[in-house]
Chain length 405, copies 2
């Protein structure tokens, strides 16, 4: 069975994702779509709107065959580590094709850019340093360096978020020396070029989340941008848990942590650079909300995303040492859900699998899963107090979703 | 000016405290009453009902002349360290008499017990070990050891909480070799023997707090047990802060801490004995409330108070190392309030004081005050979210209360 892999967050699953899913299957001509999906915390350093279990169910309902978890040590990282983790897991689980959306939409341009980088590594890195010294953020510095060194139209614009990720996917495939074919579909054009997805049916996940928060969980504004299956799952979650998760729910805990931890403890946290520890403590003393806090901490030197990721690691108490120990490779694959096809595929795959497939937490004892467990524990505390225990227990008791055809 | 010292928590100040205060002044014939009062966390390992500032105001309103803070490193300890800290601070601030309430009520019996202990140290300690091996708690084992070794009526009953404290005060005075005269007044008899304080006007602080919590802050049940000044301060605090502080307000933070901290981090916390760290983590995973949590953690081996103190140190992230570094002596005196007489006394005292009097936090830079600051920060987080900042700022901005006569 031929499998295509996709890398997703589904926060939440919307019509744009449905298009990506359908195109991935069609262009790759694969029998199986495998999604590697971030767990409770996401790449922008945010808690997911709803838990990984509910988001896996959205994916399966929309036709994904297998959903596996992208572990915390990859899911909450900048593009290179994120991509490395996702690609190596998809490779481990046997995906021979990777399909991603990008602003560029031309896979040849990704190869060209990668080749160009190989040939001009030193010049390129010098230029990035120079750009950053002039006050640019890392993504802007990277993007500018490329444009300055090769003004041909075949260099992709690395200031665009999905191009950055795509580039890192292609690079990871190259670095790992694996036999995986990357394909890309144009992302921003989806809404305009396809009859079935007009601008009346496509909205970004960001705007969907914003609507959910401002309307207090009402779906009326967003119903046309999400499949019915997503709507049902969102509705069910909100009825049970009375809220969606967001940073403000975790603010009291982040504040508490910053007010009791010592400078030394904070300096050991992943992504807390020297000097930042005092800055975040002072900000925590002064701030009334997470938004307040972030605007006090923010400087030109760090992107908002970079700081949010740091806050996530402070919140989950993820140290530099433990992150470095386990982010080199994925030693397990956590299964979040599958359908009949997915099950058939996995039964075949298991015969020659080289890393364990974790369906139940109690059946895996590797120390490398501890960050996922801790992330789920902390994530549960952001629920309304009366629902915390239920969310907490989910990490231990929820079996992978199984969806019959 | 002759000063008598008293050791208090005033949680909250009630008629029994008023009696103790009046008797202390009368029996000692002192010009000045100085109270050393626990800060935000108390000897039983609990957050105080209301902040130290409001409790200091209660004390001044009732006639105490000077209120100073018993630092966290003494206030949250078992009787010996608690007493050592309180007595040495009172000695530093020039109190020549110490007046405490006790179940015994006979100061001679405290001396007799202390002398007896000196002469029979080895036998006594052996007996305690034996008793504890048989499953007794430390206080019971101590009390039994005494009774077994000297059945004379001059040995005080050290299973009674105020006798234990009193004994440790007398012992601390003796150990420090200071010139301070201890006097005691019978505590439980106060309600029965004095006309002005019948059982209709005396209730324990515990029952007063219980009433405040069960009635949702109403004073009608407790008005006859507290002075009007206390009633006004309680009423004002509840109107502003919408609650009184108690462990359940801190439970989400304790739970969060137990779910993110590593075993190693917890083992470094003061009073977390080896093996307890896993027990508390498992209990935190299962419990829905602080009460739940405590009943899961509780074993015969540890008293409820001992475990609550441990929880307080976990909550405030107080390590074994930092506690041991600063609990040997008090290097500062933090002033919480005074009246005219108190001010006159302090102006005299300052001329030959050997440790600094801290009126403003910004004027003292010793590292040894950090536990008080951290305790106040964490204490503030237990307030309703909209009141957290106000309570937090109090630690930095509140000057000592000054009450004119």
């Amino acid at each position: 069975m031929k499998a295509v892999g996709i890398v997703v967050e589904y926060n939440p699953f919307h019509n744009g994702h449905a298009y990506h899913l359908q195109q991935s299957r069609q262009i790759s001509d694969a029998d199986i779509v495998i999604a590697v999906m971030s767990g409770q915390f996401l790449q922008r350093g945010e808690p997911a709107l709803l838990p990984k279990w509910q988001r896996a169910k959205m994916a399966l309902s929309a036709g994904v065959d297998i959903v596996i978890e992208l572990p915390y040590q990859f899911a909450t990282q900048k593009a290179d580590t994120f991509a490395f983790g996702a690609v190596s897991l998809l490779s481990q689980i046997g995906a021979s094709i990777l399909c991603f959306g990008s602003e560029s939409g031309e896979i040849e341009h990704f190869y060209h850019t990668l080749q160009f980088l190989k040939n001009n590594k030193e010049k390129y890195e010098e230029r990035i340093k120079l750009n950053m010294a002039q006050g640019m953020s890392y993504p802007s510095a990277t993007s500018s360096a490329f444009l300055e060194l090769d003004p041909s139209e075949k260099i992709i614009d690395l200031s665009k978020p999905n191009n950055i990720l795509g580039f890192q996917y292609v690079k990871a495939i190259n670095d790992l020396g694996i036999n995986m074919r990357p394909i890309t579909i144009p992302r921003t054009k989806a809404g305009y070029h396809d009859e079935r997805f007009s601008s009346e049916t496509i909205a970004s996940a960001t705007s969907i989340r914003k609507s959910l928060f401002t309307t207090g969980g009402s779906l009326s504004e967003i119903n046309s941008y999400i499949p019915n299956t997503t709507a049902a799952i969102l509705d069910d979650y909100y009825r049970t848990y009375k809220q969606f998760q967001r940073w403000e729910n975790y603010w009291p805990f982040l504040k508490y942590r910053l007010l009791h931890a010592s400078g030394t403890e904070l300096r050991n946290i992943y992504e807390v650079e020297e000097g930042l520890e005092n800055r975040v403590i002072e900000a925590a003393l002064a701030a009334n909300s997470f938004k307040d806090f972030m605007s006090i901490v923010k400087t030109k030197r760090y992107t908002w995303t970079r700081l949010q990721r740091m806050c996530t690691h402070i919140l989950t108490n993820t140290t530099f040492d433990e992150m470095n120990e386990i982010m080199k490779e994925a030693n397990y694959i956590r299964l979040l859900g599958m359908n009949d096809n997915g099950r058939k595929y996995l039964n075949q795959w298991k015969k020659h699998a080289s890393i364990p497939l974790v369906s139940k937490l109690s059946s895996y004892h590797g120390d490398d899963i501890k960050l996922d467990i801790r992330a789920s524990r902390v994530y549960a505390l952001g629920a309304k107090e009366e629902m915390t225990q239920e969310l907490l227990q989910m990490e231990y008791k929820q079996p992978p979703f199984y969806m019959t055809n």
